[in-house]
């Protein structure tokens, strides 16, 4: 069953298009993540689902019913959603408890039941102790958790989360991530999750929609997205791959405008012509064979090290075992695995 369907959504602010023909289906109980760089339109998309913005064109369906489209505009309060805002939007004139109780109070829930539901929601986000605090006496992470509790408390069928974990420390983030997953398993809530943290997206999502400049470049399960990126952008955004443009000629990739060339692994020999080469840092091998490049920096990562080589005006990044080398030294770099886009 489709819970949310976005069909050809367009949205511009003034003359600047922000969302350009976005299509996406979210199944019931699924967690779909919108992942993309800052300003690519993630929040705008989420706001259109919530009914806080009206698309210029396109249709939004929820549970089979059209909620936004030509001539139809269901207001946010009648869409039965929960939402965590990027700016938290915790009401400063209400205590933590009163903030969380608000959606229930609007439903006219009896006092006793309301109180127990609020307590439960605060327990999910580990805020029981701060129930009567006012928001100005809370930290950023605590505010974020109030917003989360408020969005969850009424048990919405659809939960929209705009970077709900961005202000939490690593431990608390892990914990809440697990909590969100558990809640989803228990309540079967459909979730649309916005983040620009790829690790978070990979760990949490059923499917990830990678957005760029207002469109979805690829929509796939995390593993597949990582293994088989559909575009150079996806490859570089998810997994931080090196993206090089140039020409392929008989198994050798010549970088555009640069003297450097890389021998391609056997599987890619057959193709020729101008192309984009995408190589993950861990697929570059430093050793006795390969292209000679001067090392500009070595970053110690603990279990491994990152090596940086200037390549025109970009950097080539390789990750591998910690070697005893110094900046300025020349190393040999071999491409072990890569993807080619655009070559015949």
């Amino acid at each position: 069953m489709t819970a949310i369907a976005l069909e050809g959504l367009e949205k511009a602010y003034g003359t600047t298009p922000v969302v350009r023909g976005l299509t996406l289906e979210v199944r019931e109980g699924e967690l779909v993540t919108l992942l993309g760089p800052s300003g690519c339109g993630k929040t705008t998309t989420l706001r259109m689902i919530a009914g806080l913005e009206h698309p210029d064109a396109g249709v939004i369906r929820m549970g089979g019913e059209v909620v936004a489209g030509p001539g139809i505009r269901v207001p946010p309060e009648r869409r039965g959603l929960g939402m965590v805002f990027q700016s938290y939007a915790v009401w400063p004139h209400r205590s933590v408890e009163a903030n969380v109780a608000y959606p229930l109070a609007l439903q006219g829930m009896p006092k006793a039941e309301l109180a127990s539901r609020v307590r439960e929601a605060l327990r999910w986000v580990r805020l029981e102790a701060l129930a009567s605090r006012m928001p100005h006496a809370l930290s950023g992470g605590q505010l974020q958790r109030v917003a989360l509790a408020r969005a969850l408390v009424a048990g919405p069928k659809v939960l929209l989360l705009d970077e709900p974990l961005s202000n939490l420390d690593a431990a608390l983030r892990e914990e809440l991530r697990a909590e969100i997953a558990a809640l989803r398993a228990r309540l079967g809530t459909t979730m649309v999750f916005v983040t620009h943290d790829q690790g978070e997206a990979l760990a949490l999502s059923d499917r990830i929609a990678v957005m760029n400049l207002g469109v979805i470049e690829q929509l796939d399960a995390p593993e597949r997205l990582y293994r088989e990126p559909g575009t150079p952008f996806v490859a570089s955004f998810v997994g931080g791959a090196n993206v090089l443009t140039g020409e392929v000629e008989q198994g050798v990739f010549h970088c555009a405008g640069l003297p450097h060339a890389f021998v391609l692994p056997p599987g890619l020999h057959a193709r020729n012509g101008s192309a984009t080469l995408v190589v993950r840092p861990e697929d570059l091998e430093l050793g006795a064979e390969g292209t000679e490049l001067p090392l500009s920096a070595r970053l110690f990562l603990g279990h491994a090290a990152e090596y940086r080589f200037p390549l025109g005006d970009t950097l080539l990044r390789a990750v591998g075992p910690v070697l005893d080398v110094r900046p300025g030294q020349t190393l040999r770099v071999r491409v072990r695995k890569a993807r080619l886009f655009g070559a015949e």
Binding site: L52, P75, L81, F85, Q86, W91, P92
Partner: protein, 519 residues
């Protein structure tokens, strides 16, 4: 057209007096305000908080009451100062006296403008001058002061505008001077009282001359604001280190205290003394003191009647100003394109002199003109010659207070607060009421109190618009002072000062709860 010009030439004296008095008042406010602003806001002067409160008092108390105070002190024969120093030492009547009183009334405008600028001047600029080898005083005079100057000057321009539109003080100190000093506002008042076609036309010509001052002054403050803004640091919360006065601290504090006592406390004291004297001008002795005036004036039917009317009108004006101001702020936020139009409607009347505004309403609702287009509108007929016309005047004039307060408050609250309420299930109205209104309440309350206080003591428009036979507190004060006895007027003035002080206290309480002020 040429007829209008020749009229203006005939009234050249009033025009010249207006310009002279206004320039004098703004000059005085600037010359007095600049060193005071630096001493109060940039040095370790003793009792700064008390001085700031006392020096800003003149803007809360209507200028007319300060005029009464100075009249008690320095009317040529009976004034307390002249009785002490010898008859005729001081004469508060005439252009000089008007400029003096208006300059002191406008002092807070210069002080507050200066305070805002001095607080925003980046302390690093001062420190850079210090590092270059300047003494603290030199750094202040060569760095901070020039940077704050545009703001101080724009405060002075506001004093100019305020003086040009003032009516009460020029009437009190000008009309019965020998020879009489007439400014545009008092001349317009005389012409309206005179009545008749010719006088009214002449009053309208003078009004156009007066109203031209507003855009000129606004343009000047705008230009000064631009000149000043560039070099001020945008950062908030930079609290510049105060300049230590060293050994001069004691003497300077005393001097400022003396100035404060002389300019602020003395005239108020004089009003209070006049209110308990058996008759103004009689020999000063314990036996001549009496509270008879107090009970006589405050419990008189005439006073209670006027107070009741003022209360209704001022509360009504305050409520309407808040409601319309809030509506205009919401409209501006919702439909950005309407912004300039709504802004103009709400803010421009504030810059138009009260006399001109009142005259315009008078003409618009008069029996002579209404037949042109308004004859069929029943409520227009109902408004003419009733106190409700005064309510309209109060609201139009002070709409800016409500609009500005609401706009600023609304700009500070995050829209997503209302959106969060929408997503939680509240309709648009409910979301506004639940999530935004509570945050706007302090600002609206402040606008209400401010409007109430200004209207309850308003004289300029009230004397022109109040129908014969009814009175409000402002016109009662005006009548008592001008035509009855100064002692009764002094009683009413004291009562109004107490009211204003209470109101200001409440306002300070409200302001502390404004969003931006908490940190």
């Amino acid at each position: 057209m040429s007829a209008s010009l020749s009229m203006l030439v005939e009234e050249g004296g009033a025009l010249a007096s207006t310009l002279g008095v206004s320039l004098g008042a703004s000059g005085l406010a600037f010359v007095l305000g600049t060193p005071l602003a630096i001493l109060l806001f940039r040095t370790d002067l003793a009792l700064r908080g008390v001085f700031v409160a006392l020096f800003t008092l003149p803007s809360a108390v209507p200028p007319f009451i300060w005029g009464m105070g100075w009249l008690s002190l320095a009317s040529p024969r009976a004034g307390y100062l002249n009785r002490f120093f010898g008859e005729g030492t001081f004469d508060i009547y005439g252009a000089g006296g008007i400029a003096f009183v208006m300059g002191l009334s406008g002092l807070p405008l210069v002080l507050l403008a200066g305070a805002a600028a001095l607080r925003r001047v980046d302390p690093a600029l001062d420190e850079a001058a210090r590092v270059c080898g300047a003494t603290p005083l030199r750094a202040l005079l060569t760095t901070t002061l020039p940077l704050a100057l545009p703001s101080l000057l724009s405060g002075a321009v506001m004093v100019l505008l305020m003086t040009a539109s003032a009516f009460g003080v020029p009437y009190l100190l000008g009309v019965s001077a020998t020879p009489p000093t007439r400014v545009l506002t008092t001349r317009i008042y005389e012409l309206v009282l005179l009545g008749g076609e010719g006088s009214l036309t002449r009053a309208l010509v003078l009004s156009s001359a007066l109203v031209l001052l507003a855009p000129v002054a606004l343009l000047a403050t705008w230009a000064l604001g631009r000149a000043g803004r560039v070099r001020l640091s945008a950062g908030k919360g930079l609290s510049p280190r105060t300049l230590s006065l060293g050994r001069a601290r004691g003497p300077l504090s005393l001097a400022v205290g003396a100035v404060c006592a002389g300019l602020v406390l003395l005239p108020l004291g004089a009003v209070a003394l006049t209110s308990i004297q058996r008759s103004f001008g009689a020999e000063l002795s314990w036996e001549s003191l009496t509270f008879a005036h107090w009970t006589g004036v405050l419990l008189a039917n005439r006073t209670l009647d006027a107070a009741g009317r003022s209360l209704v009108l001022s509360v009504g004006a305050g409520a309407l100003v808040c409601a319309l101001g809030l509506a205009s702020a919401v409209l501006r936020r919702r439909f950005r394109r309407l912004g300039p139009a709504v802004e103009a409607l709400a803010v421009w009347p504030y810059a138009i002199p009260g006399t001109v505004l009142a005259l315009a309403l008078l003409v618009a609702f008069s029996r002579d003109v209404r037949f042109i287009l308004l004859d069929r509108v029943a409520f227009v007929l109902a408004l003419a010659h009733t106190p409700w016309l005064l309510l309209l005047a109060y609201v139009v004039k002070h709409l800016a207070l409500g609009a500005r307060n609401s706009t600023e408050a609304l700009a500070q609250v995050d829209v997503s607060l209302a959106e969060a309420a929408r997503v939680s299930g509240a309709g648009p109205v409910r979301a506004f009421v639940d999530a935004l209104l509570p945050l706007l309440r302090p600002a609206l309350l402040a606008a209400f109190v401010l409007t109430f206080l200004v209207c309850v003591t308003e004289i300029t428009m009230s004397v022109l618009l109040i129908p014969a036979g009814s009175e409000v507190l402002g016109t009662l004060l005006f009548e008592l002072q001008s035509y009855a006895d100064p002692a009764s007027a002094a009683v009413l003035a004291c009562a109004l000062v107490v009211l204003v002080l209470l109101g200001q206290g409440a306002l300070a309480g409200v302001r502390r709860r404004l969003p931006g002020e908490r940190a």
